[in-house]
């Protein structure tokens, strides 16, 4: 049996809500099939008040083994580095959290906030938030760059705003089975298996992208990259291959741009969200790994080669052919 403690920091609860969208296994079945004993989960557990503190104290005293600690939400350090923006049972939440991390065999940060600070670090981090082991793309965070949990791994980051339920359940699976090693994580400690793809992969607008047949207004079929702000070619995630909510949708399938919410630099470096910044005719958000000169050359040629069918459909909100 693996003991799990799930905590929410400066959180919207959205990663729990997303976790509950898990399909096979469902969120509740995942506990069963993975042999997980939920010590406490703030949204799901019956215990409240002093009973929770008793559970906490047993973990901190070493009486209850903490196999897995999951955090969603950022860590509040403010105001003026006092941690008082979140007092949990009369004590700054970050102090509880730092102690749990010392006891934990493994630590997972679920969602961009817990991993990198996320949306609440907007506006030059006026609210003094951080992730567990990162602030944006810089190592550090609450625990410092050298932290490793008892099993010897740093905090495993599973970002996304929210994180995909598969990413959460599968990371838990890999961690509990001992399949996840340092070399399986990328520079930002994300499991490469989910975050080495791009949101662009599997996007149904890829044919439009190839021929630079672009939508000029939302609700149209064309590619959202050239004019409408899509960051799918920069965003490290497998959203468009995996799909969301019973494999029914994704951001670009819903007609809106990817805003690269799995990035350590979310939310401020992805602006503008709804239009594409360019120098001359060339978007500044060129796809990762693609040499600029080649991209410009290929784009010009593919635009010339664009079939009529795509030109029409790109700016239409319904299928013409």
């Amino acid at each position: 049996m693996h003991n799990l403690l799930w905590l929410q920091g400066a959180s919207c609860g959205g990663d729990t809500i997303s976790f509950l969208n898990s399909e096979q296994p469902s969120a509740l079945s995942s506990f069963e099939v993975l042999n997980i004993n939920v010590l406490w989960h703030p949204f799901l557990s019956r215990e409240q008040g002093d009973d929770v503190v008793t559970i906490f104290q047993k973990i901190l005293a070493g009486e209850t083994k903490l196999d897995l600690l999951i955090l969603e939400g950022a860590i509040p350090h403010g105001p003026d580095n006092t941690g008082k923006f979140f007092m949990f049972h009369g004590r700054p939440f970050r102090e509880w959290l730092a102690e749990f991390c010392k006891q934990a065999e493994m630590v997972i940060a679920v969602g961009t906030c817990a991993a990198f600070g996320g949306v609440v670090t907007g506006h030059e981090n006026v609210n003094e938030m951080s992730g567990l082991q990162f602030l944006h793309n810089q190592k550090g965070g609450l625990l410092g760059p050298n932290f490793v949990s008892k099993k010897g791994l740093p905090v495993v980051n599973v970002p996304g705003c929210p994180s995909h339920p598969d990413w959460i359940v599968e990371t838990i699976t890999a961690v509990l089975k001992g399949w996840l090693h340092m070399e399986d994580l990328d520079d930002f400690h994300r499991p490469q298996v989910f975050f080495s793809k791009l949101a662009h992969h599997g996007c149904p607008r890829n044919e439009y992208y190839e021929f630079k047949a672009s939508a000029v207004r939302y609700s149209q079929q064309g590619c959202l990259f050239e004019f409408l702000g899509c960051k799918g070619t920069l965003c490290e995630s497998d959203c468009n291959e995996r799909l969301w909510l019973g494999r029914t949708g994704s951001c670009t399938r819903g007609g809106f741009p990817c805003i690269a919410c799995t990035s350590p630099l979310f939310p401020d470096k992805q602006r503008p969200y709804f239009s594409t910044r360019k120098i001359g005719d060339v978007p500044v958000t060129l796809p990762l790994d693609v040499p600029k000169a080649w991209f410009v050359g290929i784009s010009g040629m593919s635009k010339l080669a664009c079939p009529e069918r795509l030109k029409k459909n790109a700016v239409s909100s319904k299928w013409i052919t």
Binding site: A10, S11, C12, G13, G14, D15, I17, S18, L20, N21, S22, S26, L28, F31, V38, P42, F43, S45, R46, Q48, G49, V52, P76, G78, P79, F85, M87, F88, H89, F93, V119, V120, G122, N127, C161, P162, R217, Y218, S219, C239, L245, G246, R247, T248, G249, S250, C251, T252, G254, G255, F256, P257, I259, P267, R271, P272, F274, S317, K318, W319
Partner: protein, 483 residues
Amino acid sequence: MATLIAIDPFNRIEGDLRVEIEVEDNTVTFAKSSGIMFRGFERIMSGRSPMDALVITPRICGICSGSHGVAASKALALAQSAEMPENAYYMKNLILGIEVVMSHLSHFYLLFAPDLTSPRYKGLSVYEKVNHRFTAMKGSSVVMALNARQSALEIMGLVGGKWPNSLAIHPTGTTSTMNLSTLTRTIGILKEFQDFLEKRFLNCSLGEWLDIDSFDKLLKWQEKSGHNGSDIVLFLTMCLEAGFDRIGKGPNRYMSYGAYDLPDGSTWLPSGFFENRLHPLDQTLIKEHIGASYFRDAVEARHPLEGVTAPLVDKSGAYSWAKAPRYEGKTVEVGPLARMIIADDPLLTDMMQQMDSSVMTRMFARLREMCRLTKEMSLWLEKINPAEPFYASPSSRFSATGIGLTEAARGSLGHWMKISSNLIENYQVVTPSAWNMSPRDESGQPGPVEQALTGVHVADPKDPVEVNHIIRSFDPCMSCTVH
């Protein structure tokens, strides 16, 4: 002698709450509701492009991101004088509707019902059945409801792309469209959810249940054989045996901004302010007070358009990160009960006359709305025409003021924005649970939940389940409240 009891964390709600009560002779004499966490969303907003509101504000809340999207898009639409094609009205209503229905479903099964399994209720006729069905994370109905939720949310994928945090809702329409396949599939998924409600939750057709228009008829329906296996009859029986009709009286003033906009300019659920009778809503009468909130300002209360968010953690006398919204200086209850009263729902209006506001009426209003919305969504789906547009060209110019009012699952949600030079100058959000869970204001007037707790008899102060029921009957969302 008075005993002070602090429940911290008061969890199995959305977000972080601390509750303090003073109990004397088994009666609550004093109650305090504290939002204990601050994230500072309003401070993140200033200086941004107005459209950023669609990205940032839904992230205030994981359970009602779509409602924030609707409020932000309405504020922007006002500032842009935007118009929407007809399809977009129904698409937005579907996104908001499915979010609210799923929230109500999760609230009942995941958040509220586990308290019903307390050993306190061993003597009740339904105790064993309630435990079998509603035990936290394991009860048979809990598991079925969560599976039904996960399936029904496929509608959100088809209509909104992803959720939480869909960006499909824009001031001039929806970025998402529907075609023959997605429309057909959505209709099918909604029908499956209706089947779950009819088979497990109601044990009768949705139509038969919605036809119940008085408490008397509800009791007669309960007696009719065949319904006894349903979750709602189990809950009804429990409410009456345990006396949930007698605890949790709120301020008896109700407000709704109205929601589910329709192309003819009306809303499916009407707006209004109810005190003894229905009055037209006037949002200029709203002020947020900070007397007991961790904020500093030169004045004690401001209309949200002039709102200021300056945290002051060591403020003397303060105990919450929630501001205290008041309507004409008065506390107001918002949420499904308020909406059903203002919409003149016959069953809830009758129940209010018979038993006043209580845990029971509040819960039945929520479950009633869940059923009404499920039916209404199927009608909205019929109105969508894939051949017609879903989106209109937006203007890139914004006027000085945007106000977006809607109804989230938990009640009235408002976004107020001031724009200058096409950038956000000030953005203020007043959420449903800020109304319900608010702390005292500068005059010492307690918030609705604080008031609802005061005077309640608790059989066992060491395990005050009555307090649990009352607070959770309001379905607090503290993530929203403190934002």
